[in-house]
């Protein structure tokens, strides 16, 4: 048994699976970090991912183009994020309620639109999914090469997003504005930063990432849409935001660790242990909870999170 785990093909396969399983969570985690750093908790994430998954699949099915499907998924993510912005930023409603509302709404809507187009087929329709793209030379590195550098385009994009969002947050003017809006919206307002516009922009950008993450699941990881395709990955991403202490690098690291556990449990299932496969499915989620218990005590939550911003309408 140990021999099987340690053989090179197994390790290479595990690295590849890790990156594949991590991709949608990296997208969603980074999107959520961007949103939360501006002071909004988007619990619509699970629903937005599902709508992204469905839209990506449907548009690809109709248009025949995978990339058109991905763009449509991102666009739908942005539209749902705008709805979230309208409720939680413009109207100043509870972020918890608005977000959960969007998730519930999206879950219903996704199935509704799917059925509208496909009815209830016995065999789910499929699309020709993305294929892996090997990067010349790098993919020839022994052991890790085929795992890391023979991946989907979307996986490479997810990895590039990690430093990109980090740089935006920490090195640019807009990043400083986002961080200040998330920590002390009054401070931002008094120096002329439009708090609600900044939050809306972050929500929309984050929504695009969440939608794309969802589309990865129906256009690369699988080639069909099932109602449980997201399987709680949105909630896991929320946990990864906390695990990463609202930092894109650490959050993505969390996503990769989750991807590793997910990839590992898939592989362990394949090794023929005489245990119900549900136990394996549970592992990454279980460890997420364990890790959070340890980490969240030291979390430094953006101080403006969950608080709708209004100019105070009563002065001394």
């Amino acid at each position: 048994m140990i021999g099987e785990i340690l053989n090179i093909a197994f390790i290479t396969g595990l690295i590849g699976a890790t990156m594949r399983m991590a991709t949608p969570i990296i997208f969603a985690t980074i999107g959520e970090i961007l949103v939360e750093r501006s002071g909004v908790l988007n619990l619509g994430i699970e629903g937005i991912m599902l709508m992204g998954a469905m839209t990506g699949f449907l548009v690809t099915f109709i248009s025949g183009s995978l990339w058109v499907g991905v763009l449509a998924a991102a666009l739908v993510g942005m539209i749902l994020a705008l709805l979230m912005a309208f409720l939680s930023v413009f109207l100043g409603l509870s972020q918890h309620v608005s977000g959960l509302g969007i998730t519930l709404f999206s879950s219903g809507l996704a199935m509704f639109i799917y059925r509208l187009h496909f009815g209830s087929p016995v065999i789910p329709p499929i699309v020709q999914p993305f294929t892996q793209v090997a990067i010349p030379l790098l993919s020839k590195i022994p052991v890790i090469g085929p795992g890391l550098f023979d991946q989907y385009m979307l996986t490479y994009i997810a990895l590039l997003l990690i430093p990109l969002i980090s740089i935006i947050l920490y090195k640019t003017k807009i990043g400083l504005k986002i961080r200040t809006v998330g920590e002390n919206p009054l401070a931002a307002d008094t120096v002329g930063v439009n708090v609600n516009l900044t939050r809306t922009l972050c929500l929309v950008a984050g929504g695009a990432l969440m939608g794309t993450g969802g589309a990865f699941l129906t256009l690369a990881h699988q080639n069909m849409f099932l109602i449980d395709v997201i399987g709680g990955r949105g909630w896991v991403s929320i946990a990864m935001v906390i695990f990463g202490n609202w930092d894109p690098l650490k959050g993505a690291l969390g996503a990769i660790i989750f991807g590793f556990l997910d990839g590992l449990q898939l592989r362990l299932q394949g090794l023929g242990f005489r245990v119900a496969f549900d136990i394996f499915l549970m592992i990454p989620y279980l460890l997420t909870i364990v890790v959070l218990v340890g980490v969240s005590r030291k979390a430094s939550v953006p101080a403006g999170l969950l608080k709708p911003y209004r100019r105070e309408e009563k002065g001394g």
Binding site: E183, N184, D189, V191, G192
Partner: protein, 507 residues
């Protein structure tokens, strides 16, 4: 000052601002001249901050016009005001504690190449400004590591960085130690000498007399008077501010204190960041004695009061009330040992704003035998009790069924007082008991606390207001960085000495 004072840099004309049914500013005319320090004096709720928030673009006025440097200004946000050179430093600082000084200062300015921040040139510019005005602060320091006085400097630098030449400061000395106040005044004078204007919002007469060139007094939303500082005195200003002769000084009876009511030994407690906020503290208060705990905010007073209230578990030490040990971190124990607790934040900790006046009255003693029978509340008795307290304390409310949130600040504090004193506590701990209250309510609270002492209770008053401490207390201790700097009977206390202790100087 020799600047041309004929043409004001700011003219506010017939400004009116209403909040729902309250008129905060009524038809106010207010000018600011170049190179002057103008004090805006008035009681809480007189409309000073509102008026300046309008000039700062934070509020829009319902009627009136503003001219800045000769041009009509339509200010719809602080950005517009800053662009015209008007900056304002609020009482609660608008800083992000987790970010660096530099980041806090440059946010929203357009320095830097295109998309990216240019921290290096911003830093050079900041250092230059620091040098010019003598405001030394490490640009890389995280704001949460700075003292309140240093944070205020960051706020001033933030304004100067934006080339503000009309600087509004809202009660800037409220959070400062006396030595920091001296430093602030130097800075403000320096700014005025350079031809900039400073508006100094305050209700402290002595300060206003010391710092300003001109004083505008607001009362109930209107301009009550305007005076050159040299041509008025504290007494006149007080009358203008309150609109009547100030009441006689509160009579404080000399009573010999009795046996100890509370004994604190070796108390050490951490703050929320896990740092030691109270260090090895020893205190003793006797029956019929009011002990004042003075100090600049953030020197462990909040943590001390929370430990006493049973809201914070100390790391070390013991508290005995009437000879019995207070169970650490147990509010119930504090209540059972007969402590009347008046917290510093009435709204956050003292009351439940959505509950009725009556429900707030019985928060602590709804479990006592008089108020329930086998777990069901005995409303007849509770009604009687509530009506009795409302009458006894003169609480202005629509009735015992009114929501607490419908009460004014002074009446909220009376509600807490009524609840806490109704059980005739052996020890009363009052933290910032009159913060934010007007003169009338303040007097009432002071009288009640003195009555408690005469009745035989021991009283601890934790306050940042030295006037309050001197009015009420029999003995003063000063807290500095979690320790007691000095302990002195009121008869032997001098303000200078207390001021030195507050800034950590021990002679």
């Amino acid at each position: 000052m020799t600047e041309n004072k004929e043409q004001p840099v700011v003219q506010m004309r017939s400004i009116t601002k209403r909040f729902l049914d309250v008129t905060a500013n009524r038809n106010i005319n207010f000018d600011i001249f170049a190179g002057e320090i103008c004090a805006l004096l008035g009681e809480n709720g007189a409309g000073k901050t509102t008026l300046m928030n309008i000039l700062f673009g934070y509020y829009t006025c319902d009627q009136g016009e503003i001219f800045i440097k000769g041009e009509k200004a339509d200010l719809s946000s602080p950005k517009d005001a800053i662009a015209r050179g008007v900056g304002m430093i609020h009482q609660h600082f608008t800083l992000v504690p987790s970010q660096s000084v530099l980041e806090n200062i440059i946010i929203g300015t357009d320095s830097g190449r295109g998309f990216f921040l240019d921290l290096r040139s911003a830093r050079d510019r900041l250092l230059e400004i620091q040098k010019r005005f003598g405001l030394q602060i490490d640009p890389e320091a995280r704001v949460w590591t700075l003292s309140v006085g240093q944070q205020q400097k960051v706020e001033i630098l933030k304004s100067l960085y934006r080339e503000v030449d009309i600087l509004i400061m809202d009660e800037p000395t409220a959070v400062l130690a006396p030595s920091e106040t001296v430093e602030l005044f130097k800075t403000l004078k320096h700014l005025a000498e350079e031809g900039r204007s400073v508006v100094f919002i305050s209700h402290k007469l002595n300060e206003v007399m010391e710092i300003s060139d001109r004083i505008v007094v607001l009362r109930e939303g209107e301009v009550a008077a305007e005076r050159k500082t040299g041509k008025t005195d504290v007494r006149e200003l007080a009358n203008l501010m309150v609109g009547r002769d100030l009441l006689e000084r509160i009579e404080k009876k000399r009573i010999t204190p009795g046996e100890p009511v509370v004994e604190i030994e070796g108390l050490t407690a951490l703050n929320d960041k896990g740092l030691e906020a109270v260090k090895n503290l020893k205190l003793l208060v006797r029956k019929k004695e009011i002990l004042g705990v003075a100090g600049v905010s953030g020197n462990g007073q909040t943590e001390l009061s929370e430990v006493l209230f049973g809201l914070r578990e100390p790391v070390k030490g013991s508290i005995k009330i009437g000879g019995r040990l207070l169970r650490a971190g147990s509010p119930v124990s504090a209540i059972n040992l007969g402590m009347g607790r008046i917290p510093e934040d009435r709204i956050e900790t003292g009351l439940l704003m959505e509950l009725t006046v009556e429900e707030n009255f019985i928060l602590e003693n709804h479990v006592s035998p008089g108020f329930h029978r086998s777990g069901l509340l005995s409303f007849n008795k509770i009604h009687q009790f509530s009506d009795h307290l409302i009458r006894g304390y003169g609480i202005k409310t629509a009735g015992r069924d009114a929501a607490a949130r419908s009460l004014s600040g002074g009446n909220l504090q009376k509600l807490i007082l009524a609840r806490e004193l109704s059980g005739e506590p052996t020890l009363v701990v009052a933290s910032q008991p009159t913060r934010g209250l007007d003169v009338g309510a303040m007097e009432y609270i002071h009288k009640r606390l003195l009555q408690e002492k005469e009745r035989g209770a021991g009283v601890i008053v934790i306050s940042e207001d030295l006037d309050e401490i001197f009015t009420l207390c029999d003995r003063i201790v000063v807290m500095y960085e979690g320790r007691i700097m000095g302990d002195v009977p009121i008869g032997e206390a001098s303000r200078e000495q207390i001021g030195l202790w507050m800034s950590g100087v021990r002679k």
